[in-house]
């Protein structure tokens, strides 16, 4: 009986927190579309998420592209199909690795920072102070972050795609000794609009997940420094898992026929 009790309380707890998150998300989305809008706050978030994430996303992308070219060469060399490397690099970067790796890196960089900032504002009563100044914290803190995440992640992924493919080109041409013109031609032949677009849609969804988890965990944090620390950890863990989970779901929606 104790086991059943444990399972029951676990399931109830899970449903309860899922419900809270969904209600929070619904209310946050509502605030994104209803005035007043805080443009300065939005501008700051756009720069913070988009511009300041460029180095970390770019570095991740270039090494991923390089290692992809190197790895697929060891695989494909046996079948003397070296031209396939360009295809492998461009398809896996645009469809999968660009959005997923950018999403994971931004989750670590931005999601955690949001949870820490909003969590600290919660425990130091700064969120209450917003309310006393007739400013809805959902509108002032949460809505600009959600909008910025949904808008900026696809742009970051465009950059990651280009840099990733370039990384593959570097390794293919300078290390494996391919003909640059042939490699580029193969790359462009393999580049499909739907691959890139599906990657960008994924990026938008990931941007929503990251900012939502950061804001939610920060907003609901309790109990001082320890609570803020827990909120930060929860954000990275839950955002990362949700990104991988939704990556599968979206791939299924786009490509499984």
């Amino acid at each position: 009986m104790r086991v059943l009790q444990l399972i029951g309380s676990f399931v109830l707890g899970f449903l309860e927190s899922t419900g809270r998150l969904v209600i929070f998300a619904g209310s946050a989305i509502g605030h994104c579309f209803r005035p007043p809008f805080y443009w300065r706050s939005l501008g700051r978030q756009l720069i913070d998420i988009g511009y300041y994430s460029l180095p970390v996303v770019g570095l991740t992308a270039i090494f991923t592209g390089m290692v992809l070219a190197l790895q697929s060469y060891t695989g494909f060399a046996r079948f003397s199909a070296e031209s396939a490397i360009a295809t492998v690099v461009v398809v896996s970067i645009t469809r999968e690795l660009g959005p997923v790796l950018a999403g994971l890196m931004v989750a670590g960089r931005i999601g955690a920072a949001m949870a820490a900032e909003i969590g600290t504002m919660r425990v130091t009563e700064q969120l209450d102070a917003l309310t006393t100044l007739s400013t809805n914290p959902m509108k002032y803190m949460v809505a600009p972050r959600l909008i910025a995440g949904v808008l900026m992640l696809p742009l970051l992924v465009v950059v990651a795609d280009i840099i990733g493919v370039f990384g593959g080109y570097l390794v293919a041409v300078y290390k494996l000794g391919f003909n640059p013109a042939t490699y580029l031609q193969n790359t462009f032949d393999a580049l499909k609009t739907e691959d890139v677009v599906s990657g960008l849609v994924k990026a938008s969804v990931f941007g929503f997940i990251i900012t939502l988890m950061g804001c939610y965990n920060g907003y609901t944090s309790r109990g001082g420094a320890q609570g803020v620390g827990a909120a930060t950890t929860n954000t990275i863990v839950s955002a990362s898992i949700l990104i991988l989970c939704f990556d599968y779901i979206l791939t299924e929606l786009f490509f499984a026929r």
Partner: protein, 259 residues
């Protein structure tokens, strides 16, 4: 202050519980227009919860709160926000926004409410800072560069920036040395009188309560057990009030030393 004027804030039968713990239990309280009422009570007596219920930061379980005769409890968010515009509040830890410079903190309500452009909001901020005894050189500093007393002053300037009709003070002197506490008390008296605002404060600092209050009410076990003019508090005839204002450990109020 006259008995005939309708109360600015009327609280009736307010009830709030956290789990099984009753924090506010059928609480009644009136605050008159232009009056300064101080609610005293021990730590954990529910003073902060009372203020948070009035502002809607916490939802009370039952009862009624009216501001200028308008019911606040259960009113839709837009109406709630409109009523909240009448309020200014000085929070216990000042709760300044550490991402913004001092002047933007003070002008926050004006800027966020789109009441004026940044240039004139900044002028208002500097004049409000002057009102609490801070020079214009403070305006560009970050809140973290200020001492606790100065942060309180900035918090006060922020609370009065939009010329509110009602100002709430959450333990305004806690954590300050006695001299700075008195400076803040004087500023509270000046700033509320200057704008003709109604003030509702909560504190456990009796010196502060005596100084800023027209009327004192004591909160104990979720109820107002005594309320009256500040001059009559020593003659309340209630042992619990006497114990509190004299700060004695022995008496009818037994603090839970061990949880």
């Amino acid at each position: 202050m006259t008995d005939k004027a309708p109360p600015k804030i009327r609280i009736g039968g307010l009830y709030k519980a956290f789990g099984t713990k009753r924090v506010l239990d059928n609480l009644d309280l009136d605050v008159g227009d232009g009056e300064s009422l101080v609610v005293i009570g021990g730590s954990g007596s529910g003073k902060s919860v009372l203020l948070k219920c009035i502002l809607g930061l916490l939802r009370a379980d039952a009862g009624s709160i009216t501001v200028d005769g308008e019911e606040v409890m259960g009113s839709p968010p837009e109406k709630r926000e409109a009523i909240n515009r009448k309020f200014g509040m000085l929070l216990q830890g000042s709760a300044l926004f550490d991402s913004l410079p001092v002047w933007e903190n003070v002008a926050f309500g004006l800027l966020a409410g789109k009441l004026m452009d940044r240039k004139s909001a900044r002028e208002v901020a500097i004049s409000k800072l002057a009102q609490v005894g801070l020079g214009p050189d403070v305006a560009m500093l970050s809140p973290s560069e200020l001492s606790g007393g100065m942060q309180k002053r900035v918090g006060l300037a922020r609370a009065i920036a939009a010329d509110p009709e009602i100002i709430l003070f959450d333990e305004p002197t806690t954590g300050l040395d006695p001299i700075m506490a008195d400076v803040i008390n004087n500023l509270i008296i000046e700033t509320t009188r200057e704008v003709g605002a109604t003030a509702l404060s909560i504190t456990h600092d009796m010196a502060s309560a005596r100084k800023i209050a027209h009327r004192i009410a004591m909160l104990y076990q979720g109820k107002i057990i005594w309320a009256g003019p500040v001059s009559e508090i020593t003659r309340s005839g209630d042992e619990r009030v006497d114990q509190f204002i004299h700060g004695r450990a022995d008496g009818p109020i037994q603090m839970a030393v061990r949880a």
